[in-house]
């Protein structure tokens, strides 16, 4: 591996310095050769490589929508050096072998570290525990378990899962959606717009009530709970309360919930169909504030690629989900930095340090310091672009930001000392 010298980057917004890389780690710039490959980072920020707690890579099973190769390249283009691959593939990641397979694909094809998320229940059916311990002990070293896409609605199963993962410092990441209050048909925030459009409502109470139950179970079991894609103000209040009570709960918010509102659905364009749904502005403001004050710990993309034909149905019948990896940093900057809600060190914490900590990734979210793994992203804080869905590494095009002007921050991404993405001039 060749050496690399990055000159003059502003390290996480806290002062300029040169960064030297050798054999995948930061070394003292004085120690690299004089003719080393150089990267001029004048005017750029260096952040620790971003970590996504919530990615759907679709492989194995739906390689027409995304693969480990295409998804991680999209990640690299978005500044990510690690992604957690959700378990709802075909087959489901609910055994050590399945987890190992995803990890192996990552090693072979990945443009970022690929860490499988294990299913909590066999086949994601919410009935019996999957082999959590074997997944944890496998070479994939699974620590995050989730039935994402399905809520673990059975309180007994949730209790057992939380208890069981304590043995190996695991965390249960809950997709909070009470299936009685928000059944699978629910596809629009329940309120004025769902009533007007005649779309099945997805009330905020369906999320908040499950989270309220789960924080109590987390307290009972002294275990670690993570709340996926928090979308509403009521959930924020529950998590804030639980944290004040020292319950071991963390939470993530998806970039689209920081910016887009229910009004997008007025067009019946399934590009804006996502689960949980886009919420009205007061919820968007609440999750922004929660991300700012640390009630919500992390930004996680919920990158959900879909083949075009799976989105070209009637709204109620189209697939849920939107792309996120390539635009997550841009959207978070626009929502949080431009508004003054976060500064750069805080943003690095929410997009790299905390997600790495929640997933127990030892080599990610580390300081940009000598001896540490060289995972970083170089950011141009001033560049902007109009998003073009065809300018993408993803195999899918369900990009809700198409045609919108956003920051264009990522100049280069370096994973374990290797340049995985470099913007062309």
């Amino acid at each position: 591996m060749t050496d690399l010298l990055i000159r003059g980057a502003d390290l996480v917004g806290e002062g300029r310095s040169d960064l030297a890389i050798r054999n995948g780690r930061f070394v003292d710039p004085a120690d690299v050769a004089v003719d080393v490959e150089q990267l001029d980072a004048d005017g750029l920020l260096a952040l620790p490589g971003l970590v996504d707690l919530h990615t759907h890579l679709r492989e194995p099973g739906r390689e027409d929508a995304e693969t480990v190769q295409s998804g991680t390249l999209a990640g690299a283009r978005g500044g990510f050096t690690a992604v957690l691959a959700m378990a709802n593939t075909t087959p489901v990641t609910d055994t050590a072998e399945a987890a190992q397979h995803v990890a192996t694909l990552g090693t072979r094809d990945g443009h970022a570290q690929v860490v499988p998320v294990g299913a909590v229940s066999k086949g994601l059916d919410g009935a019996e525990l999957a082999e959590l311990g074997l997944m944890a002990r496998s070479g994939a070293r699974v620590r995050v378990f989730s039935d994402d896409g399905h809520c673990i609605s059975d309180a007994r199963l949730m209790r057992r899962a939380l208890e069981y993962v304590r043995a190996f410092d695991g965390v249960v990441a809950q997709h909070a959606q009470d299936p009685q209050l928000a059944p699978v048909s629910a596809c629009c925030h329940e309120g004025e717009i769902s009533g007007k459009l005649g779309l099945p409502g997805w009330p905020a109470a369906a999320e908040a009530s499950v989270v309220a139950r789960d924080v109590h179970i987390a307290e009972l079991t002294c275990s670690r709970l993570h709340v996926c894609h928090v979308s509403c103000a009521e959930t924020v209040d529950v998590i804030r309360w639980a944290k004040q009570r020292n319950i071991n709960v963390t939470a993530e918010v998806a970039p689209h919930h920081l910016m887009l509102t229910t009004t997008e659905v007025l067009s019946y364009d399934p590009t804006y169909k996502v689960n949980p749904p886009l919420r009205p502005n007061e919820h968007v403001q609440a999750v922004r504030e929660a991300l700012a004050d640390g009630t919500i710990d992390a930004v996680a993309t919920d990158h959900a690629p879909h083949a075009r034909h799976d989105k070209e149905h009637a709204f109620a019948e189209a697939a849920f989900g939107m792309l996120g990896l390539e635009t997550a940093l841009a959207v978070t900057m626009e929502a949080m930095i431009s508004s003054g809600l976060l500064d750069w060190p805080q943003l690095a914490k929410r997009m790299s340090i905390m997600p790495a900590h929640i997933a127990r990734l030892a080599d990610q979210g580390r300081p940009l310091a000598v001896g540490e793994p060289a995972n970083l992203v170089l950011v141009d804080p001033a560049a902007r672009r109009v998003v073009d869905r065809d300018d993408s590494a993803s195999l899918s095009r369900n990009n809700p930001w198409h045609g919108r002007e956003l920051p264009d921050p990522v100049v280069a991404t370096i994973w374990a000392g290797r340049v995985t993405y470099r913007k062309e001039h």
Binding site: G195, K196, G198, L199, H309, H313
Partner: protein
């Protein structure tokens, strides 16, 4: 008019135009030869993703009396389960060179999506729990005829109260009627148990109430909505009996109505549930007039969409 997707697409002038033309069309219905050459050479496809004998027949007759070639395509069932996307189905039909697509779909919004994919005119014949604009047009046309019996020059519904009673949440008929009646100046009162009033109703241009008996004596028109079978098992109300007692147009309620008030129902009726036989067959029931008006109003709408010079 390019498409008719929502009752909100029409202003009062356009509605009056459609109604005046429908009056002329209705004269055809009385003739032994019921055919006008207005749409000769134009092709109308009824693309129905959901069964509907009466709406489909009504559109079919309307098209045929205007001499259009009318083709019915049934695409029942979820496009997801069939493996063909909505877009592919719509593009396939449009590619045959049709002039207008009359779309009925079990999912809200499908005609909006279709209108963005093709050049043909799109007419919404009922989408999910969203809208059914031609039903609202024929309802208001029938109401206008009724009101004109005592006020022949009546143009708007100012000062009139229309009570719409039943499952508002899941009713496309209610949504379109609210929009159209509001444009025409009527005061709309929605009557339903709170479980069947949609979210966000405070923002609608209506009054909402869960006490039928409070509203009934003030209504000039009482529009009863069908209670769908699946709502009965959905826990929206305890029993059909309790529903009938609370929200049915029963014989005692018939007597509490204003003497000049009239009864509407979009059909098909559940006699004995939301409407008693006495009410359905009462002298002031407009229910069969509604069905007859359906053909003339749809002829008028098809002519508005396709008949002009292009």
């Amino acid at each position: 008019m390019r498409h008719l997707l929502s009752a909100a697409d029409l202003d009062r002038t356009q509605i009056t135009e459609i109604f005046d033309l429908a009056e002329e069309m209705s004269l055809v219905q009385g003739r032994p030869v019921k055919k006008l050459p207005a749409l000769r050479g134009r092709t109308v496809v009824n693309l129905f993703f959901e069964d509907s004998t009466r709406t489909r027949s009504s559109f079919e007759i309307a098209g045929k009396w205007l001499s259009a070639d009318v083709i019915n395509i049934s695409a029942k069932g979820s496009s997801v389960s069939k493996g063909e996307s909505l877009r592919d189905t719509v593009l396939t039909v449009a590619a045959m060179g049709v002039d207008a697509l009359v779309i009925r779909h079990h999912a809200s919004g499908a005609p909006w999506q279709a209108s963005r994919w093709i050049d043909a005119h799109v007419l919404n014949a009922g989408d999910g729990t969203h809208e059914h604009p031609t039903q609202a047009l024929l309802d208001s046309f029938t109401i206008r005829r009724h009101l004109r019996r005592s006020a022949p020059d009546l143009l708007s519904f100012e000062g009139k109260t229309v009570a719409i009673v039943g499952d508002i949440t899941h009713s496309r008929v209610a949504r379109s009627n609210v929009l159209l009646l509001n444009t025409l100046g009527a005061q709309v009162v929605l009557v339903a148990p709170p479980t069947l009033l949609p979210a966000g109703i405070d923002s609608w241009p209506v009054l909402a109430c869960s006490d039928f008996d409070e509203v009934l004596p003030h209504a000039d028109i009482v529009m009863m909505l069908r209670v769908q079978r699946e709502r009965m098992s959905g826990g929206y109300f305890p029993t059909p009996r309790e529903y009938t007692i609370g929200y049915g147009l029963t014989r005692p309620r018939l007597e509490a109505m204003k003497p000049e008030a009239a009864i509407c129902h979009p059909g098909p009726m559940n006699r004995g549930l939301e409407i008693s036989a006495d009410a359905a067959d009462a002298a002031n029931s407009l229910i069969l007039d509604q069905v007859a008006a359906g053909v003339s109003v749809r002829m008028s709408v098809l002519y508005e969409l396709l008949g002009g010079a292009e």
